[in-house]
């Protein structure tokens, strides 16, 4: 395996792109209101409002993984647990369900890159130019996980990334962050690391409705009260602790008489 057949490598990346495109084609057939490409709408006669209809945040349901394969899930858990480890300060990214959050993001419009222009040309851009990849985020994760494992196979005695020691994983992640290592198959290590770190932070701190921040643990850690609204009574009450426990879009244990 030290000299992969070029044909196979080509096949891998092509199938990743095709699979991603197929996914986008199947799910992206319906362009939703507010998404890129949604047709403009005209309203007349009054402000539109339909009784009983809710503009709810696009939360997740279920607990199954929709995008990552079992092997990819192992990789992601091994990676995010180094970005936010479980320690005395607070829960780690795995404990806060960040891998599940990222999985559902990649299975949806974010993963499809609905918000990006993904057509060519693809020269290397400057950081100010933002995301400059031909991969959608989902395609980038899939290709990057394969490329990183290929890198560790070659450089760590055939081991998967997930089987490396904490120190080795930290070193590898740092060299990805600085752009010190080159990955194969068209994956830019620095771009992937930036996306992974960003998504990890998002999953750790965003509302639990999106699948991460389990039990609002990240909010409890930093004392953020969440989606509570009226603080007017507290504006002039200096030096007192505000008694509101953190609350998410879908509530908190106190709503059910718990906690």
């Amino acid at each position: 395996m030290d000299k992969p057949v070029p044909g196979r490598r080509h096949f891998l990346i092509t199938s990743a792109v095709v699979a991603g495109t197929g996914l986008a084609g199947a799910i992206g057939a319906t362009v939703r209101d507010g998404e890129l490409g949604a047709p403009p709408r005209t309203y007349k006669g009054g402000v539109p409002w339909t009784e009983g209809q809710a503009d709810a945040p696009p939360g997740v349901s279920g607990d199954d993984f929709k995008f990552f394969t079992p092997a990819e899930r192992v990789f992601i858990e091994a990676a995010v647990s180094r970005l936010i480890p479980n320690d005395e300060v607070g829960p780690g990214a795995v404990e806060a369900n960040v891998p599940f959050f990222i999985d559902r993001q990649l299975a949806g419009p974010y993963g499809r890159g609905d918000h990006y222009y993904l057509g060519g040309p693809w020269p290397k851009g400057t950081p100010e130019q933002g995301y400059q990849s031909r991969f959608s985020p989902a395609q980038l994760y899939r290709a990057a996980i394969a490329a990183i494992d290929k890198y560790t196979h070659a450089n760590f005695n055939g081991a998967d990334f997930a089987n490396l020691s904490d120190d080795d994983r930290d070193k590898l992640l740092k060299s990805m962050e600085s752009g010190a290592i080159q990955l194969e198959d068209g994956v830019d290590a620095k771009t992937f690391f930036a996306m992974l770190l960003q998504n990890t932070k998002e999953g750790y701190f965003s509302d639990p409705i999106y699948g991460g921040n389990k039990d609002m643990a990240a909010w409890k850690m930093i004392g953020f009260p969440g989606a509570h609204y009226d603080y007017r009574e507290w504006v002039t009450r200096h030096g007192e602790a505000v008694p509101f426990p953190p609350v998410g879009f879908k509530g908190r244990p106190g709503w059910n008489g718990e906690g």
């Binding site: 799910i27 939703r32 209101d33 507010g34 998404e35 007349k44 006669g45 009054g46 402000v47 539109p48 409002w49 339909t50 009784e51 009983g52 209809q53 809710a54 503009d55 709810a56 945040p57 696009p58 939360g59 997740v60 349901s61 279920g62 559902r104 299975a107 949806g108 419009p109 989606a227 509570h228 609204y229 009226d230 007017r232 009574e233 509101f244 609350v247 879009f249 879908k250 509530g251 908190r252 106190g254 709503w255 059910n256 008489g257």
Partner: protein
């Protein structure tokens, strides 16, 4: 003997009607409308100046009567044209579609004679001699004068013709037999103005009574229906249920009625749909948009004077709430409701109603408050307050138990007192409103 047969026949039909009603009220699911609510712009036709001319006075009188009578609340469907009808009304007897009363000669009433129109308004019989269902408020409109009816018809004939045929009614036996309405008329007509006018009543009170019992047809919603769908005797204006919405008590009851409201509170509410105590949503929002916001100040004042004279309804007992439910409800309220209603439910005057001493919250039947939480509500826009403020639906966010708890908390806080609500009450209404599956916009939910 023939007389006896007739009486037996009447009793048989009556029991059929009552049976149909109870079967309906047990089983029928009256869903929410699926489209956007009706257009506000359509109401502008009622404010369109009528140019001077030979019969301008009559046409202006007719146009004003069309405002007093709230014609557009029913004779306008979502995205439809003014007076073209086609709005489905959920009644206990089935769905009745409002008719086309535009000037179109074929689909509307463009060819109707004044005699035919008077008969419809007075006796509930259309130009073809068919009985109209009393969803059309002829039991109240019969109190208009012949001159009023002539003016209203003359005005309607000046409205743009709309070639539109509303759908047929979907009613159950025996109410799908129009002749059964003749029987209904004998037993069900509401009181007429003047019948109970006290000695020495002021002209303003008499004017208020004439509007409320006449074109305003207020008791059609605000008096409880009896099993025949008519006003319940002795319960006038003590609050009713329409389309899974509560029409509150209008008597002087301080908890459920207008007892705490001043005359100015009432006139401001009728004028703008808002005041410091409440906001007009649901069917009453339409009444404000299409009727009361376009009345004269004098008429609104007269209505308020009349309503303030209604004796308070007997105060119903309420059972005590479970403290655990109150505690859970307080938690939900503090997180989910205070963005608009604020801590301690003080609200924002004329924007978001305060919930303390709130009549809708304290109705004996909690349907109104549950409907508002489950489906949301829109404040009826009006010329002076055109922004249709809305409360969103919480059906996706709160469970039945959470809605029951927060409703129980609201109904028993800040001076309020009313019986607690159970999760089963919420589940029943959620199912009737077909909100078991949350109705989400395109850009919500799991992708």
């Amino acid at each position: 003997m023939r007389m006896l047969l007739r009486i037996v026949g009447v009793l048989v039909v009556l029991s059929l009607i009552a049976g149909a009603y109870f079967a309906w009220s047990l089983n029928h699911v009256a869903a929410l409308p699926t489209g956007p609510v009706t257009s506000v712009a359509a109401a502008r036709i009622l404010l369109k100046p009528i140019p001077d001319g030979p019969n301008a006075a009559q046409l202006r009188q007719g146009q004003y009567l069309a405002r007093l009578g709230d014609c557009l609340s029913c004779h306008l469907r979502a995205d439809g044209d003014a007076f073209a009808g086609g709005l489905g009304l959920n009644t206990p007897f089935g769905v009745i579609y409002s008719s086309n009363i535009s000037s179109d000669p074929e689909h509307g009433i463009g060819h109707w004679t004044p005699d035919q129109f008077y008969r419809a308004m007075h006796d509930g019989v259309d130009a073809q001699g068919q009985h109209l269902y009393p969803a059309f408020p002829y039991p109240w409109f019969r109190n208009l004068s012949r001159e009023d009816d002539d003016a209203l018809l003359a005005y309607l004939k000046t409205t743009p013709p709309v070639a539109y045929q509303p759908p047929g009614n979907e009613l159950f036996f025996p109410m799908n037999v129009r002749a059964s309405v003749a029987l209904w008329n004998v037993i069900s007509l509401p009181p007429q103005p003047g019948a109970q006018t006290p000695q020495g009543a002021s002209p303003e009170w008499i004017r208020g009574e004439a509007i409320v019992l006449g074109p305003g047809h207020c008791s059609q919603c605000h008096t409880p229906r009896n099993p025949f769908g008519a006003d319940t005797r002795g319960k006038a204006f003590q609050g009713g249920l329409l389309d899974n919405f509560v029409s509150p008590d209008l008597t002087g009851n301080e908890r459920t009625g207008l007892g705490r409201w001043s005359i100015d509170d009432i006139t401001e509410y009728l004028h703008t749909g808002r005041n410091t105590r409440a906001a007009a949503g649901g069917p009453m929002g339409d009444v404000v948009t299409y009727s009361t916001s376009m009345m004269t100040d004098e008429d609104r004042h007269a209505i308020a004077v009349y309503l303030k004279s209604l004796p308070a309804s007997a105060d119903a007992d309420s059972t005590a709430a479970d403290p655990a439910s109150i505690k859970r409800g307080a938690a939900v309220f503090s997180d989910a409701c205070t963005a608009c209603h604020l801590e301690n439910a003080v609200g924002q005057p004329t924007l978001f109603p305060p919930l303390g001493n709130n009549a809708v919250a304290q109705q004996n039947d909690p349907t109104g408050v549950l409907h508002i939480i489950l489906a949301g509500v829109r404040v009826g826009p009006s010329p002076t307050r055109p922004s249709p403020l809305t409360m969103p639906s919480f059906a996706w966010k709160l469970t039945d138990q959470q809605i029951a708890d927060v409703s129980t908390y609201i109904r028993n806080s800040w001076g309020n007192r009313a019986s607690p609500v159970t999760a089963a009450d919420v589940a029943k209404l959620r199912s009737k409103l077909q909100l078991d599956e949350a109705r989400l916009t395109d850009n919500s939910g799991d992708h």
